[in-house]
Symmetry: C3
Subunit: 366 residues, 3 copies
């Protein structure tokens, strides 16, 4: 039957709609308030003192508590969904994600993406779109910058393939490029008792593994409230009627939900890792569904000083989240259980309980 | 047994407690904040740019983002429940609902109702109460004005019937009475890319139908959080112990929840319909329960210019919400499926999936 | 296997870690905002006008609406959990809890506890720790002060027992010690119509019982959102994977959740009891789980004037909350059903539906 409404609704972009170098300004601008902070608090329960207490933040040099970095990430990411990934088959990865300016309640966030790579798949049904997405505040200053690639359906399989371009992206953000979103803090005024952990930057070591202990069960209402808070419209998270007939039989939880759950859980062991400075890469190894309990553990991959800064140091962390599987023995790959050192690049042999493999930099007071 | 507490609790008003012309000042005054905006955002996920971004709102002439019109409606409506509909058998309808002043976070809302009609039913067990309810802000200015009628139980079947009075209510709000809650905007500064839809007032036409595509599943926690946010105390929404023995065996979702879900979904196709100016009438055709997925579609019933205003035009919409039924083919009446044009006034033969039939005016930039 | 992360995570304190007179400064400071108020509103639905409306609060002499007293209590209590009760077997009681200063949105709350008693149990596996916990605002002023005792596991059964000290705690807070958190109000300006109840202090009498009528069903998402909002980390509330193998087979709801539910329900019958001035004692008689419906009733245990104050009077209330059991006949003890007057001190023979037995003082306008 004819559908006169088609021109009014957003069909999303298909692979052949993207052009190399194309710039896409995303809807909807969003003023993020202390209300959003409270809803995020209720959903994830973070306890990092800098984001929790205006008084604590002021004592070390912030004008007030900044927003949780991941709340900023999710809001910016959410804006890109209707234009970039509404017709995505899969979210393949992200890289070179840097937080560039502290964001405070009251800021209005916008997002713009640039197409930085295109590659049609051999089956001609799909292609990979690489974008660099940037979040801006109301003053037009960049607060977040990251690359992401997704596999997107073609509308028409016979549409010609675009010239192939695969962007070069760093495996990890260089430490020299970290710290822009963290004002110089007074590390001596950073009260580790109030912050809930005695361990500063120098107390960690490369190779150290930390079981974050606490498990947290996810409910349907929670992940939907979170994802709507970010104005992320990906349908798979919300529509049980459709998903009941789909691949999993149920709503798939937004991958960023697992990241926020793992980050909040990581407080237990990383209590002074008060800022996420960069995300080097992340992989949603398996889907997460409501009713499952999320656990997490982390390994310190590297430690770095920041050029010219004595106040904070950077830990490169690999955080693994699991479902219905405590992390006392640091589950990762199937081989790893037998005593082999896991190799971050060795393919798909993840422990079936693993849902997230995240590589990122956090800042800690020295 | 004796119940000495009876005088202290609120039994609600019964039919014979209402008097024509009676004015009822409702409890509880409520300061609505950016916190409420965030909770509402998390529950419904609206994306209309004017309400989402202070910067966007300022660019077109607002001092900041106003509250979502429906949040104002629900808060005012909620206040009337303990006095008007605690002993209601059924919510029969509303009419002539106009939004009269923009409401911003920080405003304190009050509500007053006047009894404008009474009609005892033939069975002498119930009667219909017509009220005009008005929401006021902290300056005593009217922000919302609507008529509503409900069927209310009698306490005592032998109580004498009041003089019958059925008020005349308009089928629809005249376009000349629209727009008071919308300041004159700078339509040229209205950025349709940021707003997420290229379609302005002139791009729509009468008779056009729009499938809003996206379905959203409702959870018990969500509708109860929403309804408590409005301080709406209607017991049927909250008490599974009682409802498990009741007509439906489960909690009935507040009808306004379906309105907010449909309105938020309507962004996909009506992205620039940034304000609800009036509600002409609405019918909760069937109950909604948790676990069901809500879809919606709209028809443009009429288009109107506003006297003396070149900045915005008004679309009269009929929005239909369904449960567990996508709206690609615009489900409405049973006959309609066979190809007949549905008649808005033709009775009860709704498609069994339809839950809401709402007739209202929205404003769009020209 | 070795667990190098053990030193970084918080194992909580065991019985032998506590010393009489020890002072524990708790993490994490928390700025409580209007966003938290909105989330709390959505979760519990309180309708006390002073906390709901800035305009109402100002009319009687507050600078604006204060936070709900119980929100303050839960946030302060939550801070004590990681240090005091992470290894608790049972929460045994609290006493002498006083609210000492009104708290407004924007305040930052901290907490400090002092160990005021210790007693090892005969089995040598556990001991009872008595603490006095105090909540402070950003100016270092005490806003809340209460005693609490918990049964805590020993790490090592052979660890020597500390000198036994059982603190003397009052059965009830003396009326002369009430009222610090309530500024002198203009009781004549207190509008009982707007507040939703005509009954002032003088309208109640000792021995009066009030059924609060309304039942409210609890969902998993709701109690977890609330408990995370308070940054309460007690694992039993969040981890279905672990609890499915535990004593109850499911997540146990934070006891304070039942208190907030009962308090919000008590509006129906105690609508002008606008402030909780003190908690004399409380007992979580039985666990509460998601899916159950909470009802409540109250008895007026005593009435008191406050020294030198004509504006407000104090009601000492005993509020009983039940699960899946309406309170029309005031369920309490098993004997009570047979017509005997229940004795507050007569032991464990509670009606199996009772979950909470709370003894507290509220303030009402005179």
């Amino acid at each position: 039957m004819s559908n006169p409404s088609a021109p009014k609704t957003n069909p999303g972009n298909f692979f052949e709609d993207f052009r190399l170098g194309q710039e896409i300004r995303h809807a909807t601008p969003r003023t993020v308030t202390s209300g959003d902070v409270a809803v995020y608090q209720g959903l994830f329960g973070p306890r990092f003192a800098v984001q929790s207490s205006d008084a604590f933040a002021r004592a070390i040099g912030y004008p007030r508590s900044p927003l949780d970095d991941l709340l900023v990430f999710h809001v910016v990411f959410g804006k890109t969904v209707p234009d970039i990934s509404l017709n995505a088959v899969a979210n393949l990865g992200y890289a070179d994600c840097r937080f560039l300016k502290p964001v405070y309640p009251g800021a209005t966030l916008n997002a713009v993406s640039e197409v930085i790579g295109l590659r049609e798949n051999a089956n001609r049904k799909t292609g990979i779109v690489y974008v660099r997405s940037r979040g801006f505040d109301q003053d037009g200053e960049i607060v977040l910058d990251y690359a992401r690639w997704v596999m997107v359906r073609k509308r028409d399989e016979t549409a010609p393939a675009p010239p192939e371009k695969i962007p070069e992206l760093p495996k990890a953000v260089e430490p020299t490029r970290l710290g822009a979103a963290c004002p110089t803090i007074n590390a001596a005024a950073y009260d580790t008792v109030l912050a809930g952990s005695p361990h500063r930057f120098g107390d960690y070591q490369v190779g150290e593994k930390i079981d974050h202990v606490d498990g947290i069960t996810v409910e349907e209402a929670e992940h939907m409230i979170a994802t709507r808070l970010y104005q992320n419209t990906a349908r798979i998270h919300f529509n049980q009627f459709a998903e009941s007939k789909g691949r999993f039989g149920r709503r798939l939880i937004y991958g960023g939900h697992a990241i926020s759950l793992a980050r909040a859980r990581s407080f237990n062991g990383l209590g002074n890792a008060f800022q996420v400075a960069a995300i080097n890469g992340g992989r949603h190894v398996a889907p997460l569904f409501a009713g499952l309990t999320v656990f997490a553990w982390s390994e310190v991959l590297a430690m770095a000083e920041l050029p010219g800064r004595m106040d904070v140091g950077a830990l490169r962390l690999r955080t693994i989240a699991t479902k219905d599987r405590p992390c006392l023995d640091f589950p990762l790959k199937v081989h790893a259980r037998a005593g082999q050192r896991p190799d971050p690049g060795d393919g798909d042999d993840y422990d079936p309980a693993v849902i997230l493999d995240l590589d990122y930099w956090v800042l800690m007071p020295r």
